[in-house]
Symmetry: C2
């Protein structure tokens, strides 16, 4: 590939439960085989009816305790805990692993763009969401569901992939050699995150946001690999939790 282009899909409407995202994208953009369609998790969640009312949550003692520390609504904290399979950090922010393996603050639950007293959960399984959207497209494209996340060590948020279909999350350089014939130290490259980052830049945030970006001209592997680091291979997660258990 010599050049790649990234296109905003304009005039994407507000999404409600049951909307057919695949059809809505193809109505507005002439997809071609091989395109990578990046979709913000918020619109995927909305199409899947992942709105909840805060009043539907009864905070546990633990949720109340965390909420007090963080000065948040305890029902919101309960919603985060309900979406989590593991808590990495409780304060000064609530960093959890979601049930589908993604690690993020507040389990990625969004209070923007959804109205007072309501929250929007991430898709229950963004990989399955991506499969379904991809299956609904007439063209043979890859689909990436993106989210915006903070990162350790670096300021600011950046787009990452939380679900994908028709593309391998990792590009495998194992066995490849450098110019001098030495085996490369870099072995696996998180290409879905690299694509999601640029897509997120184009999408923007807030009222001017555009939730769908199409990337054209990429060469990418179609399948294999995982991106959420397994707990037993995550040194930093282990250290954070070790520390927590001691304190």
């Amino acid at each position: 590939m010599d050049s790649v282009s990234c296109h905003l899909v304009r005039r994407f409407p507000s999404i409600k439960e049951g909307d057919d995202l695949a059809a809505m994208i193809e109505d507005r953009f002439a997809l071609r085989d091989g395109d990578v369609v990046c979709i913000a998790s918020t619109v995927v969640s909305k199409s899947e009816g992942r709105f909840k009312r805060l009043e539907g949550y009864s905070p546990s003692i633990r949720a109340q305790k965390i909420a007090e520390e963080l000065e948040r609504d305890p029902r919101f904290i309960q919603a985060v805990l309900d979406e989590s399979e593991d808590v990495l950090i409780e304060r000064p922010f609530l960093l959890v692993a979601t049930r589908f393996g993604h690690i993020g603050v507040n389990a990625g639950i969004d209070q923007s763009n959804v109205g007072q007293g309501r929250i929007l959960l991430l898709p229950e399984d963004p990989g399955t969401s991506a499969d379904r959207i991809r299956g609904g497209l007439e063209k043979d494209c890859a689909v990436i569901v993106t989210d915006t996340c903070g990162r350790p060590f670096r300021c600011g948020v950046a787009g990452v992939a939380i679900g994908w279909s028709g593309i391998a999350p990792l590009r495998d350089w194992r066995g490849k050699r450098d110019l001098e014939g030495r085996e490369l130290e870099i072995t696996l490259e998180a290409i879905v995150d690299e694509i999601a980052g640029m897509a997120n830049f184009l999408m923007g945030e807030g009222e001017d946001g555009n939730p769908v970006v199409v990337v054209r001209g990429l060469e990418y592997p179609k399948s294999g690999g995982r991106i959420f680091r397994p707990r037993e291979l995550d040194v930093i997660r282990e250290r954070l939790q070790e520390k927590d258990r001691r304190s």
Copy 2:
């Protein structure tokens, strides 16, 4: 911006100390004002003569101890420590903060593509490198120096920015509102990392790697902000080091 294009600069030659990267890029690609020129840190380092011979390092007791744990050459570990202002994790990998603020394994020191017994350090100050390259361009472009880094919680490496010039590292959404008039929870977006990720995808690794990518059509803020999280605002760094001090 409705669409953005990313272009590989082909036939970029091997770089030696003193090479004028700005001229070499403009000789091979017709830049336009506003383009974002992404350059792999390896070629920046080579142009700055950041090669070192391992035999030039005398490992300290500490370097010898770490090297034994990690089964690495103690002179290599000494080189990493020399480039670091702080060690976050000693094993099972050596995670450090470089003198210019970037946190990465082995201080980003590369043993690929540089020959036996030699290593390639990151640029001493990639921001200054970016300023110098940008200053050498005839067109008014932004410059991003990229590196490939692992991340906590997620598998695989991804491209990030370690230096930039003519572009703000963060896009500021503070005060912006969502469709329903609520203030956005997301406030600062690490746009240089989002651009660097896609550029890194196009660059590839190893013998087929192309170290320069030009991104055209982006709208971006020109100045302000920082991307390396200050130590006192980095909860995860603090917890890792707290734990370390106790053990």
